[in-house]
């Protein structure tokens, strides 16, 4: 085990490298999780009747009618103040600060009332949509609804003032259609987000990148040409040598995992406790199993002699891809079925499944079934690592030169 011991010694003599990758990127994962409030779509009636939008309105008319419209739009969600200048308006929609920006031209109230009372086409106000057409359409539909009521009130009461028309429109707009949620036999229970779980999910990228970088540095050290020649020429079997280096890399991986998990537990201890003993244990088990994946990737890359820069780049690429496929960046439900199908062939998908299931363990009445599901997911995650590790061993064996030709080819292994 001398090779392992010295490999660990060499790893320990590069503390800056470890600190930057393992600690630095873990802290980044904490910042991500802390700063983000994730509203889990719960599929409830409230989400259909009262979705939250961000809207803005540039009022060039400054009339009572428009004031009534603004009051009615408050039900959509918070109003974002947008300055009158063109650049501010462009910024608001381009950066997605608003789902919809209304621009009411000057003279709108007068033209609107006149047209409504004459039975002519109504003047329109402009609506610039943000990122999603649906958000913009919803805000527009809400404005249309109120304006339709205002037009009717104006037509029905020609003598009414603008303020009275606005009041009547607001009163009429309170009359709504009924909304019901269609029941389905297998409607899933809504689960609320757990910040610690969320941190682990978001940390997929940072932990993959950090583990691959830290362990690849170790493999690169032993892959230097003449050092490798010396090691191969020695009586230490290649298998023993490789496994010892892998063991040292496993220790480095565990250190990275401990750092990452400890930081998460420290910051999100309340949410970790809320998981319950079984939930927390399952979460940590899943996390531990997942850590083996970047280790096996790094090990495989090491068998092919990938440089430390190459491994660093690989860690970044793979980290992003796996975290995306696990649904950390964007909800999987928003992605096409093809992407969802491919995601099942990545460990991130199974890992986040296990994390979500672990969340449900505490309050679930089917804990045995949930537990079994978690173990299955963890097993699949571990399987990815095992398969890659086996491929790496075979690749390493093939890379090791053999005297297959001539007279020496007949020599049997002693």
């Amino acid at each position: 085990m001398r090779v392992c011991k010295y490999a660990l010694k060499m790893a320990a003599r590069r503390p800056l490298f470890f600190l930057i990758y393992a600690v630095g990127l873990s802290v980044m994962g904490v910042v991500m999780a802390l700063a983000v409030t994730r509203a889990e779509p719960a599929g409830s009636l409230q989400d259909v009747v009262r979705p939250q939008l961000e809207w803005g309105l540039v009022d060039e008319d400054r009339s009572e009618l428009v004031a009534g419209l603004i009051d009615s739009l408050d039900e959509l969600g918070p109003r974002v103040e947008v300055a009158q200048d063109r650049l501010a308006q462009e910024e608001a929609v381009a950066q997605g600060s608003v789902d919809c920006l209304f621009i009411v031209p000057a003279g709108f109230e007068e033209a609107f009332l006149k047209a409504a009372r004459a039975g002519e086409s109504l003047p329109s106000l402009d609506a610039a949509y943000g990122f999603t057409g649906a958000g913009g359409a919803l805000a527009s539909a809400a404005a249309e609804r109120w304006l339709a009521s205002a037009a009717l009130a104006a037509a029905a009461h020609p003598e009414a003032s603008a303020a009275q028309v606005a009041e009547e429109a607001t009163r009429a707009a309170r009359k709504t259609a009924s909304v019901e949620l269609m029941a389905t036999p297998d409607a899933a229970e809504a689960s609320s987000a757990n910040a610690f779980t969320f941190y682990l999910e978001w940390s997929i990228y940072t932990t993959i990148a950090s583990i691959i970088a830290c362990t690849a540095a170790l493999f690169t050290t032993f892959n230097r040409t003449d050092v490798r020649r010396r090691d191969l020429a020695s009586p230490l079997t290649y298998r023993s040598f490789t496994l010892q280096v892998a063991l040292a890399a496993l220790a480095v991986t565990l250190a990275c995992w401990l750092v990452s998990t400890a930081i998460g537990l420290l910051v999100f201890w309340q949410d970790a406790v809320a998981l319950g003993a079984a939930g927390l244990a399952s979460t940590l088990l899943a996390s531990l199993a997942f850590m083996l994946f970047p280790l096996s990737v790094s090990f495989l890359a090491g068998q092919f002699g990938v440089s430390s820069q190459g491994a660093n780049a690989l860690g970044n690429l793979l980290g992003m891809a796996i975290s995306f496929m696990g649904g950390a960046w964007i909800s999987m439900t928003l992605l096409g079925p093809e992407i969802q199908a491919v995601a099942r062939f990545t460990p991130g998908w199974w890992y986040t499944n296990a994390l979500m299931s672990a969340q449900e363990l505490a309050g679930s009445s089917h804990s045995a079934a949930v537990g079994s599901s978690i173990l299955t997911d963890v097993g699949v995650v571990a399987l990815f690592s095992v398969v890659l590790f086996c491929i790496a061993l075979i690749a390493g064996k093939l890379r090791e030169q053999t005297a297959a030709a001539g007279g020496n080819g007949a020599v049997q292994e002693s």
């Binding site: 609506a127 404005a143 249309e144 009521s149 269609m182």
Partner: protein
Amino acid sequence: MCKNWRLALLTLVRDKNFLIWCLGLPLGLATIFIFMFQPIDKLAALDQLPIAAVRLDAAQAATPQGQAYTQFLEALGSAADGDSGSPAIAVSWQDSVQEARQAVQDSQDAKRPFLGLVRLSPDSQLTFEAAPTNDSVTQMEQSVIVSVCDSWQARMDAAATLATQDPARLSQSSVQAALADVAGSVKKVSLTENSPRETCAFYFALLGFTALMCAQNSLLAALTLVPGASACGSRITASGQPRGRQMLIWLTASWTASFAGLVICLAYVCWAASIDFGARTGLVVLALAAASFMATGLGGLVAVAGPRETGAKEGVLTTVTCVGALFAGLYGEPVMEMANNLAEAAPVTAWINPVRQVMESLSALIYYDSLAPFWMHLGLVAAVGALCCAIGVLRLRRLRRESV
């Protein structure tokens, strides 16, 4: 000097680090992003909203409310055009509530499932039954239907009240016109050159991330000038060539290599993700030149002022890049939201973040009429690059004399 510069450039682009940091990683990430964001772009674009509607029986259909219901739904399907604020709604008539519910459930596996069903009760109460979903975009679309239904219900109730209180007014042409008008008060406009796309911000953040990753290549170029860092560094330092010329050659060669990598990456992203800068393509090139200049400066600075070990220097650059990308919102929607909120609350965090500045300079080009924001962001990027270059150059000159 030109020959030296050419050879320096050749050395840099033949190095596998160039392939990794300036081409491989950004193109790989861009490809992942394209797969990730394609469905989101499709979802963001508002298609027709499909619903099922329950046909009324003959008796109810003959009533004024029944007629209004039927006309309302038939008008919905034909009313919308591209400029209206109201979206197109595709109505599929079903003969009964049960059939409508079945049609909604059966459609859930289709590409565009029904959002729900609409029915009118005998007491003229319009009801929308929403199909169950956890998808926020679908919920938003269902809310649109609800809002349209609310509008109809409000007008019907107002008409009923008017019929009771003042039937003469109900028959006035203006009132009838107001009752019949389905849409037209809100006109959809575009304030920006191109329609806002949420995914563009991610692509631009990726380019900012790529620019900073190019600094890894610049780091290695700068290390060539550090005497103790490599045998070549010692050779070059001890040569007869003036120090200033050495730095100019290697740093401009590094700048050129990074710039070339960024241009290739941007071209790929624009082609694959259909991003068009139109007449401002020349300014995009300028933005990339500034971004690669910033990368050169940053790589040079870390080379001379960072930790001694090359691996640790690379780690510093990687961390700076990842943190910069975090606060530019690269890592998904919630992170983008966080980054935007932070930039609004504390603009200085955005000013000092080169990844964000690159992202915002490209966003400014594609969306805003005025070029003022673009020049401001470009200036900030160039300023960061100039500052890093200045510190790096001063330190490099000192390193000629100090022992390492």
